[in-house]
């Protein structure tokens, strides 16, 4: 028995057999020269290149059918690498000089990879690892090494790896995998996202584990505790089997509730919505019984890239969620970004106080073209479901008016071009700056709904950075000052017959929910996994 500690990034318990996934990162080329004829070697290289190319094409086909654009982009680059004329020439040259096929492939790819790794631009530097990934695939074919693959997993296994990349898991056999354990990774790593989507446990950050376990042995993982138990004792097996049963039972009772609408005893419906950060999370939200999307963050489209997303890219990202949610509301928040993130194509000046500077709606009103492109994409997608638009960081009425003027311009342009969109699309704002709450009665007259963003509202109310531990005593959602602001916003919206929701962390916090219901909130939006618990809590207590 060996016990390992890591970070649980997806809950649940799994008991299964170890599947060690170790794609060889560094291959040793033994023979630099050999006596094979040049023609034989050239043919062997050609076969290996073609074979890898076919693999990539198959993966691309698979990804395109899943509509996984970002991943497909990576493999499109792989395809260009495998067909690169410079690399081919270099290989031929080395073969003509009598070097072995493997050595020629290694040197030709490595020379280019090194050049790319030297570039200043970080995004480009990373392409060197893509190039090496392709190189290793070619070498494995040449050396007749089996390609480790997750597409052919044995039944009921737990995949243990150093790290899992999109290229590793693109064709994973989902039916047979019970959980993931990786040495690297974080809550936002690919492993975490995939595990959450599959609804299986995952533990990351378990350093050294790949060297301490053998394939086929029994292993228990518990996502809640973040532990991995290798070759468990009978007692441990019993304990975790019981714990798993209990979890399943609890899950069943939650399952019965989660897909129902929730009413308080007085007959008022409390809508329980999900916050999502990309289209893939929409599936997780639906699985957890979300009545709608209370916050669709659109930043994922804009971060970590060199140029702004095109209208088409955005349109597809919005459309796919709207289609999945059918008639259920999907509140799409326009870009909420500022000087704390470096976005190379936005030319944001360095600010002393980025959280008090040009961000969110302020940034969009300064970058009208960027804003228009996003609004156009949302409007075009609006015919596929029940979309609503929400402006973040509204401080004063003038900002709503200016945003709406731009929105109306976009609507007119679309109308003149005969492009269909939903004319009655609802517009709302985030109430997350104290001035907005204090002035709620004036603001609500310009919009259809409010949504309170508690994370920022609390931070701006107490002038306390929520990431600064030294002032964390000020970060108190249930403080009367915060509740008063929420009350002002709720009363104003109800006075005008409009709805008010909340999409901050407070909305999914069981300790806060009694206050929120008392204050009259109509909708609570939270991390998808919390929805079943919140629904049960409201049903049992109100």
């Amino acid at each position: 028995m060996k016990k390992f500690k890591g970070m649980g990034v997806s809950n649940g318990i799994a008991i299964g057999k170890v599947f060690l996934y170790l794609p060889l990162k560094h291959l040793n080329i033994e023979n630099k020269k050999d006596n094979l004829t040049i023609k034989t070697k050239k043919e062997a290289v050609e076969r290996a290149l073609n074979s890898v190319k076919n693999d990539i094409l198959l993966t691309l086909e698979h990804l395109n059918s899943k509509d996984a654009k970002k991943e497909a982009e990576i493999f499109n680059a792989h395809l260009l690498f495998i067909e690169d004329p410079t690399i081919k020439e270099k290989i031929d040259m080395l073969l003509n000089q009598g070097f072995s096929a493997a050595y020629a492939v290694e040197c030709a790819f490595e020379e280019s990879a090194k050049k790319i790794a030297l570039l200043k631009n970080n995004y480009l530097k990373e392409r060197a690892s893509d190039l090496r990934d392709v190189k290793n695939q070619v070498l494995r074919k040449l050396l007749n090494l089996s390609t480790p693959s997750l597409s052919n997993l044995p039944n009921k296994c737990i995949v243990i790896a150093e790290d899992l990349m999109p290229s590793d898991t693109a064709r994973i056999n989902k039916k047979n995998v019970l959980g993931f354990v990786t040495e690297k990774g974080s809550t936002t790593s690919h492993t975490a996202i995939l595990a959450e989507a599959l609804g299986i446990p995952a533990i990351v950050g378990v350093s050294g584990i790949t060297k301490e376990v053998s394939a086929g042995k029994t292993v228990i993982i518990d996502g809640e505790e973040g532990v991995v138990i290798y070759e468990p004792t009978r007692k441990q097996l019993e304990y975790y089997t019981n714990k798993k049963q209990k979890q399943i039972k609890e899950q069943e009772s939650l399952n019965q509730i989660k897909f129902t609408k929730i009413y308080t005893k007085s007959g008022k419906e409390i809508e329980v919505f999900a916050n999502i950060g990309n289209p893939e999370e929409a599936d997780i939200a639906l699985k957890n019984g979300a009545d709608g999307i209370g916050l669709y963050r659109t930043e994922f489209l804009f971060i970590g890239r060199e140029s702004p997303p095109t209208e088409e890219e955005q349109f597809n990202a919005y459309k796919s969620v709207l289609i999945k949610f059918k008639k259920k509301p999907v509140i799409i928040r326009t870009l909420d970004i500022g000087g704390d993130k470096s976005i190379p194509y936005l030319n944001i000046n360095n600010e002393l106080n980025p959280f008090l500077g040009v961000r969110a709606i302020r940034l969009c009103l300064n970058n009208v073209e960027l804003f228009k492109t996003q609004l156009r994409a949302i409007l075009r997608a609006s015919i596929f479901g029940n979309a609503r638009i929400m402006y973040p960081m509204i401080a004063v009425e003038e900002e709503i008016e200016r945003a709406n003027v731009i929105l109306n311009e976009v609507k007119l342009e679309l109308k003149n071009k005969g492009v269909p969109f939903k004319k009655s699309i609802q517009i709302g704002i985030m109430v997350e700056i104290p001035s907005a709450a204090l002035n709620a009665e004036r603001l609500i007259q310009h919009v259809d709904f409010f949504s309170i963003g508690t994370n920022d509202l609390i931070q701006y109310t107490f002038a306390a950075d929520r990431t600064n531990e030294n002032v964390s005593y000020l970060y108190n959602p249930l403080h009367p000052a915060v509740l008063k602001l929420i009350k002002l916003a709720a009363e104003a919206s109800h006075k005008y017959g409009k709805r008010i929701g909340m999409c901050g962390e407070m909305a999914g916090d069981l300790k806060s929910i009694p206050e929120l219901i008392r204050l009259g909130l109509d909708e609570l939006s939270m991390t998808p996994s919390k929805i079943p618990y919140v629904k049960k809590f409201i049903k049992d207590n109100f």
Binding site: P85, T86, I87, S112, I116, L119, L124, S307
Partner: protein
């Protein structure tokens, strides 16, 4: 042989996706095509060479096309750079 000077207008230059689109486009033609920056000339049909040229936004590059379809190739390149490397639908 046709030779033309261009300024890469888009902010990020010939990086990542624009580079891929560029290579994919020029590879459709039979002509020999090169791109050069600061007198360093490379094969425009090679993604690794184009990437390692490190063309930033606003840089001047010279593109040379030599072959039977050089006219069509240069036209396509001009259009691509004009449109800031937007993929042709």
């Amino acid at each position: 042989m046709i030779s033309k000077e261009f300024i890469i207008k888009n902010k990020i230059g010939l990086h990542a996706r624009p580079a891929a689109t560029f290579v994919q486009t020029v590879s459709k033609y039979r002509s020999r095509i090169t791109i050069s920056k600061d007198n360093k000339e490379v094969n425009a049909k090679s993604i690794v060479e184009v990437l390692s040229l490190g063309v930033e936004g606003g840089t001047k590059v010279v593109i040379k096309v030599d072959g039977s379809d050089e006219k069509q190739a240069m036209e396509a390149i001009e259009q691509l750079i004009e449109n800031n490397f937007k993929e042709q639908k």
